[in-house]
């Protein structure tokens, strides 16, 4: 009897510790969200989404150029990053023993741990310095480089989660190997891969460092990806470090929009993982 009471006490204590850990983990996130909404929501208006910035000191204006810029830069990065990452991931999962796989996996792990500013410097050296001008393309290239290893590793892990028995079942039906991989293995892993890719898109949408000396930022609406371009994280950086109160307001609002974009992508990822069938 004594022992049972003691056990229950220890159990309750441990559960308590875990609850504390969860609260500590979630608290900063809630605090950030709360703060952003508090300080940014008041500046959100139609103008904010549709107007361009006004000269310093004047009130009003918006960040339409940065919203367009973020969509273009991130879109372009995803256009290259997602297919390349998925392709490399499939290769690594299908040929786990090959030397190329081992090298690729190692490089991807190193790249996953590389600070994003280093990738930015790399893009600056190879694209900006050669072309002798800043451009959105250089920013997209840097972001794509961050994205590929993330997408690749998720794809590989998710394909490996598909039971080997399914592959055998496909082959035993007379499917050629490529067809087994595509129409059975990949199709089974697809919802997870879509989620992983969307989460990678959400991750890079908020990256600032790689854009600082590639896309550079701009005060104008610009659709030409060969020119410097504004992006939400750059706007936040520029306005938050500026001296004017109006700028600070815009920075808060931009940060809120950025978080909302990431939030929408994450929710989209959740929806994509939902089962196709409802039994």
């Amino acid at each position: 009897m004594n022992r049972r009471v003691l056990r229950r006490w220890i159990s309750n204590f441990m559960v308590g510790l875990m609850v504390v850990a969860v609260i500590l983990a979630v608290l900063p996130l809630l605090f950030i969200l709360f703060n952003l909404v508090l300080k940014g929501a008041s500046s959100l208006s139609i103008d904010f989404f549709t107007k361009l910035p006004v000269p310093a000191g004047e009130t009003g204006g918006g960040v339409a150029h940065a919203i367009v810029g973020t969509l273009l830069i991130v879109g372009l990065a995803s256009l290259f990053g997602v297919p390349l990452g998925i392709g490399a991931g499939i290769y690594c999962a299908e040929y786990p023993g090959s030397r190329l796989t081992k090298v690729t996996r190692f490089v991807a792990d190193v790249m996953n741990g590389t600070p994003s500013i280093v990738v930015g410097v790399f893009a600056w050296t190879w694209i900006v310095a050669r072309q002798k001008h800043f451009s959105a393309v250089a920013g997209s290239a840097a972001l794509a480089m961050l994205m590929i290893p993330m997408v690749m590793r998720t794809t590989e892990e998710l394909i490996k989660l598909v039971p080997h028995s399914l592959r055998e079942a496909g082959l035993a039906l007379g499917y050629p190997r490529w067809r087994t991989s595509l129409s059975i293995i990949l199709r089974t892993a697809l919802p997870g891969i879509v989620t992983g890719s969307l989460l990678a898109v959400a991750r890079i949408a908020g990256e600032t460092a790689p854009l600082l000396f590639t896309a550079l930022g701009s005060q104008y609406m610009n659709f030409n990806v060969n020119q410097p371009m504004a992006a939400l994280p750059l706007v936040v950086f520029q306005y938050a470090t500026g001296p004017y109160e109006e700028w600070h307001q815009l920075a808060w609002a931009s940060a809120l929009v950025l978080i909302l974009v990431v939030f929408v992508l994450s929710v989209g990822a959740r929806l994509a993982t939902r089962r196709r069938f409802h039994a």
Partner: protein, 255 residues
């Protein structure tokens, strides 16, 4: 048993994993429209032997063979024979049910039909219905052919896998412990089904369960340590085994 036409056979078949010999020098024949049980303790090579028959063994890393596997008199390991084509003539069902989770019940059954170009819609509907009826699953699923296959029970899933395997009309059906993951009710349904299926197919079934072998099969072969110890009509092997090891195994003294 009257003389029957041989459908499938092996000639001095040895199966290796790298340098390890899993099956040693087995010569065996399976008659048309018969059920043939392979029994023996775990690791005796009966599953490996089964997997050489549709060339699944060679997909395992290090898997290779010597000797011959003859289907209708033709060596299936001859160069120029496509393993993919062979597997459409020799279907296989595994220990655990393996329905394709992203496909509906209908698409699962039709999965093997789409390899030689798409069949016509009506024709495909017919084959799916026929296969599900043959697998004794039609009445349970006919109203929900478009729903997920993983929502079925384990026994239903296994019958679905049988339907999927027989849809392309193979000549031989290999069953690798098909009831190992099923409850007694599911097991007896599969056993009844095997009895029906032998009208259309030649069946080779690996089983751990000796009662099952005795119930469903026409011939039984006993494997031990990679060698074929004894083969014969099921009744004879269970009532009057010629080898001492066979007797010891079927009376439960080892394995």
């Amino acid at each position: 048993m009257p003389e029957q036409q041989v459908r499938l056979g092996t000639d001095k078949l040895t199966a290796m994993y790298g340098k390890f010999t899993a099956v040693k020098n087995v010569t065996l024949t399976f008659a048309n429209n018969s059920v043939n049980a392979l029994i023996g303790p775990s690791g005796c090579g009966k599953s490996t032997f089964l997997r050489t028959l549709n060339r699944m063994h060679e997909l395992t890393e290090g898997g290779w063979i010597t000797g011959k596997v003859l289907l209708d008199g033709q060596d299936v390991y001859q160069s120029g024979v496509s393993a993919m084509q062979l597997r459409r003539r020799v279907g296989m069902v595994f220990q655990k049910p393996t329905p394709f989770p992203t496909m509906s019940i209908y698409d699962n059954v039709a999965a093997g039909l789409r390899l030689d170009g798409r069949p016509k819609r009506g024709e495909q509907d017919e084959i799916v219905e026929r296969s599900l009826k043959q697998a004794a699953l039609w009445d349970e699923v006919k109203d929900r052919l478009r729903t997920s296959a993983v929502a079925l029970s384990g026994g239903q899933q296994q019958r679905l896998c049988i339907a999927r395997s027989i849809a392309p009309r193979p000549e031989v059906l290999l069953l690798d412990e098909p009831t190992a993951s099923l409850d007694p009710a599911g097991t007896s349904r599969i056993e009844e089904l095997v009895f029906e299926l032998k009208k259309a197919f030649t069946i080779v079934i690996v089983t751990h369960n000796m009662q099952q072998a005795a119930r469903v099969s026409d011939t039984t072969t006993f494997f031990y340590m990679g060698s074929m110890i004894e083969t014969g009509p099921t009744r004879q092997l269970f009532t009057a085994p010629k080898q001492e090891q066979t007797e010891a195994y079927i009376t439960g003294r080892f394995g």
